[in-house]
């Protein structure tokens, strides 16, 4: 419901306003962007994806982790284009460096998902308008919908922002409607070394939820609404799901293959295991329109293979990752 309201709000925003100063409310008050910015510095960890999805290339962007030499993952690489007259695409890593940012002479500093401190916000505001997290959210409480809508408002691209949000939402709904058999099925996302089970607040679990999946009751009980919890290795009940997703963050899933109780798990016996390789895992973690698109391209076929009800169907990637049945 809130999401619909947000989209409506963005839609009624008059496009004519774009040429005039735009006031954007945020967690520490409000920031005025005097005119559509050209030199954008994006400090959000997922900022580059969201800017690129609006067709805008920041002059500098923050790298979260991994990706290619420029810190871009496959879903963002083709979107970053050189802009004439603009030396764009500088990758920023590590701590926020105030002086480096100031010397880039930005006309907008976007930091909605960056962990920026109030002191850094006031210091950077001396250089250019700064966009900290939206009102009443925590440091990393901004959703991609909020970020896209705010980016659109700040740059006068509200129509584009609405379209990106709608397209992604429509695709999620379409997949959900095309798979009525998934509704109410249980799915659990696990990091094998631990094992850690991700809870209802996690971005990956939320994405699965929007496709119609729910957490297994035992996992839901232990997670207590949090982000993740470490499961006692003796227990397999929370892993007893219609689809069991092992997250490979780059270290392989050897711990899943070596789990002593592996043969007693239902998902293993019934061929309902999925391994998400490091790139797919990252796409699920980034949770931005381009990364969600990429993730859906690859995850949906895997979910179909795992949930076809036939234990003999191989799920792509599982055998390669060392999971045997």
């Amino acid at each position: 419901m809130r999401r619909v309201l947000q989209i409506l709000l963005v839609m009624v925003w008059p496009i004519a306003l774009a040429a005039e100063p735009v006031r954007i409310d945020h967690v520490w008050g409000s920031t005025t962007v005097p005119e559509p910015p050209k030199r954008i510095v994006s400090l959000s960890f997922t900022g580059i994806d969201n800017w690129l999805s609006l067709g805008l290339s920041p002059i500098a962007y923050r790298v979260w982790y991994g990706g290619d030499a420029a810190g871009l993952w496959p879903w963002a690489q083709p979107l970053l284009q050189p802009v004439a007259g603009l030396d764009n695409g500088l990758a920023l890593r590590g701590e926020i460096d105030l002086e480096q940012i100031a010397r880039l002479k930005p006309d907008l500093i976007e930091a909605m998902y960056s962990g920026i401190s109030y002191a850094q916000y006031t210091a950077l505001s001396r250089v250019a308008p700064v966009l900290p997290p939206p009102p009443e959210t925590s440091d990393f409480g901004a959703s991609w919908q909020q970020m896209i809508a705010t980016f659109g408002a700040a740059t006068g691209k509200t129509a584009q922002a609405v379209k990106v949000t709608k397209d992604t939402q429509n695709r999620l709904n379409a997949i959900r409607n095309a798979h009525p058999q998934w509704q109410g099925k249980t799915a659990v996302v696990v990091w094998p070394d631990g094992p850690l089970i991700y809870g209802p607040q996690d971005a990956r679990v939320r994405l699965l939820h929007s496709l119609g999946f729910v957490l297994p009751p035992a996992a839901k009980r232990f997670a207590r609404g949090g982000f993740y919890f470490a499961l006692d290795r003796e227990l397999t009940e929370p892993l007893d799901a219609d689809v069991l997703i092992w997250l490979d963050l780059g270290g392989g899933v050897g711990a899943a293959a070596r789990h002593p109780l592996r043969q007693t798990m239902r998902a293993v016996r019934e061929g309902r295991e999925i391994v998400t390789d490091p790139t797919l895992s990252a796409a699920l973690s980034y949770a931005t329109p381009p990364s969600i698109n990429y993730a859906l391209d690859r995850l949906v076929p895997l979910l179909e293979q795992a949930l076809d009800g036939d234990p003999t169907t191989a799920v792509d990637g599982s055998a390669e990752a060392g999971l045997s049945r």
Binding site: V27, F45, W64, R93, G94, E95, I96, D97, L98, E99, Q100, A102, R103, K105, Y113, G115, S117, Y118, A119, Q120, T122, A123, R126, V127, P133, T137, S138, D139, F140, G141, Q201, D202, G226, F227, Y228, A230, S285
Partner: protein, 316 residues
Amino acid sequence: MTRITVLYVTLAGLLLGLAFALLVVGQGELHPFSVPLDRTILLHFRAPRVALALVTGAGLGMAGTAVQTLLRNPLASPDIIGFSAGAAAGAALVIVVSGTGVWAGAGAVLGGSVTAALVLALAWRGGIAPLPLVLIGVSLSLLLAAATDVLLSLAPDLQASEVTRFLSGSFAGAEWHRVGWMGAITIIGGVFLAWHTFAVDRLGMGDDMARALGLGPDGVRIRVVAVSAVMVSVSVAVAGPIPFVAFLSGPLARQLSKQSGTVLLLSGGIGAALALGAEALSGMLIFGAHLPAGVFTALIGGPAMLGILFLNTRQQ
């Protein structure tokens, strides 16, 4: 010139030189009188960081050496007997619960002070003996570190790495009013500790020695420990827990000067030098990224300590 004079002159030169270099050398030329952006960079970006590093380092160095001497154990510095851990746990609690680092400073001061009060209260058995106080402090420190770990696991990945970043200690968030707070605390605390140096040094030799001179051991201990705890807590509030400055400054000062006792001023100077040196390194790009100053205090102080120990033992 005596050894100690040479030391003071060298240290003062080092501090001035480093501070000047940090203000002048940066990512490009600076014309603060003609270009407004450059003036902002100098006055609001660089200068507060240098000043904060100086006052924080000096405060930590003095608080550390006073507590170590008082409790007669080089391991008994405020960052090991729980004050830093308490301040860090308080800050981490605030960050994880509120989801933002804005109130972390208040959490740090509260956490550090409560921990110090708790250590003193638990150690009180009709008086305060050094060893029980230290052991209780270490226990609480480890407990609080464990609590911070648990707090970290309750946060989402990015929030957790943000807490990790805060827990590394950094002068990056410096602004003038923080410098004012820390500067005031360092000066008031430093004067207080200097006033107590005589008593602390006598207590460092033993309670009987102090009593013979008419000093009440418990009163001195409570006052000095409490003041040091406040200094450390405020430093965590303004810069995060800058590690090992409180712990290394005193022993470095004693090994370098070959004196015993508090060597308060020298320890403060060495603390400031460690912090400033770390700040200089954090301004450099290391594998394409800036690392917080807290990473470097021990990278400078650790080898320095090992080297001095090696040289001093060779001379024996």
